[in-house]
Assembly symmetry: C2
């Protein structure tokens, strides 16, 4: 399994793609650690958008803390199901509470988004591990808010929500917390970026 490809034809495509990605971004990411480079390469491979080499920002402790959590088979929490189903070949659990009955109830009662309510339900349910947010800024803001209440439960955050309203701000807020993070600065981001980063980390944790 290489870059998500499981067949010979798929692997040939992935290898050729990696060469092209490297030719496009290797200079821009040469200051990163080798493991971080692998993550950014996979993000650019998944989006065919070299701009992500510049938009992706990774905190000093992100790689180490994330790998420790994944090697310990801690949980992965995603904001939406599209991210959940994209994270393949993790031996631990990948969870998403967006469709949980309590999530619907909290969202309706407090007039907040379901993605935000889902984070609360996950932490009440005992979640500890890595959070992967590919869509919802309100979900990321909820992680930041609840991290104070549950300081040792959130080991790292892949925070790449997308959109013109609140996404850039939510990622900037994450960068101001003690949580180890990977973000894409500005409005851009999305589920393929979240999934690419998570899958690259999972592969690294198996090396």
């Amino acid at each position: 399994m290489f870059m998500g490809a499981s067949t010979k034809e798929g692997q040939e495509i992935a290898e050729k793609s990696r060469e092209i990605v490297r030719s496009l971004i290797s200079k821009k990411i040469k200051h990163l650690k080798p493991g971080e480079q692998v993550i950014v390469e996979r993000i650019v491979h998944s989006t065919a958008d070299p701009e992500y080499a510049e938009l992706t920002k990774i905190s000093e402790d992100f790689l180490e803390e994330s790998l420790k959590a994944l090697k310990g088979i801690e949980d992965i929490l995603t904001d939406i199901n599209m991210v959940k189903v994209g994270i393949t070949s993790y031996p631990g659990e990948v969870k998403c509470y967006i469709d949980h009955p309590l999530t619907h109830k909290i969202a309706r009662k407090r007039e907040i988004t379901r993605a935000a309510a889902a984070v609360e339900v996950a932490l009440r349910d005992g979640f500890h591990g890595i959070v992967v947010i590919g869509n919802s800024p309100t979900s990321l803001l909820k992680v930041i808010e609840l991290q104070k209440q549950y300081p040792d439960r959130i080991k790292s955050v892949i925070g790449v929500p997308v959109g013109f309203v609140g996404a850039a701000e939510s990622k900037k807020s994450l960068q101001g917390t003690p949580i180890p993070y990977l973000v894409t600065i500005g409005p851009k981001g999305g589920t393929p970026i979240a999934v690419a980063a998570a899958n690259a980390l999972i592969n690294l944790s198996k090396e």
Copy 2:
């Protein structure tokens, strides 16, 4: 339910986002039909990437044929599960054969990708409706190949595979067929674009 938002806070974010999207791309898409404009707006909303206003190309018959199929509650076929779970609120069936046992068998035997084999399994299984490809160029090429064998089964294709190897070429090939299409030209594309276009069409089909 507006732009995928089901709560008050989610709807406020979506409405503000739509205003920003319109301010960024309205001039670039004013030559499109109103329904096509709605689709492109939703793609840019989902990616926060205004470049998609220029990259998205829609065939003359795409909107009409797609809406006819959706109003007839024909099936939707996706290349991967990330696209399938992102297509919400369709009263018909959304199918994906990537994990089907026969797909694995064909992929291994003929050394083709699972995404390509999955299209073959779907058509053998009687699929007719709209095909939504958000990831795999080989899957789109298989649709184009099999359309000759099953000329009346594929009503339209949202073909937005992503990547530096084969994606641009596969989309160009689709544009040369009689199949009604929506594509993003060049290497860029991906699951959020596929899902945004499909969900926008589904909403339009309910109007």
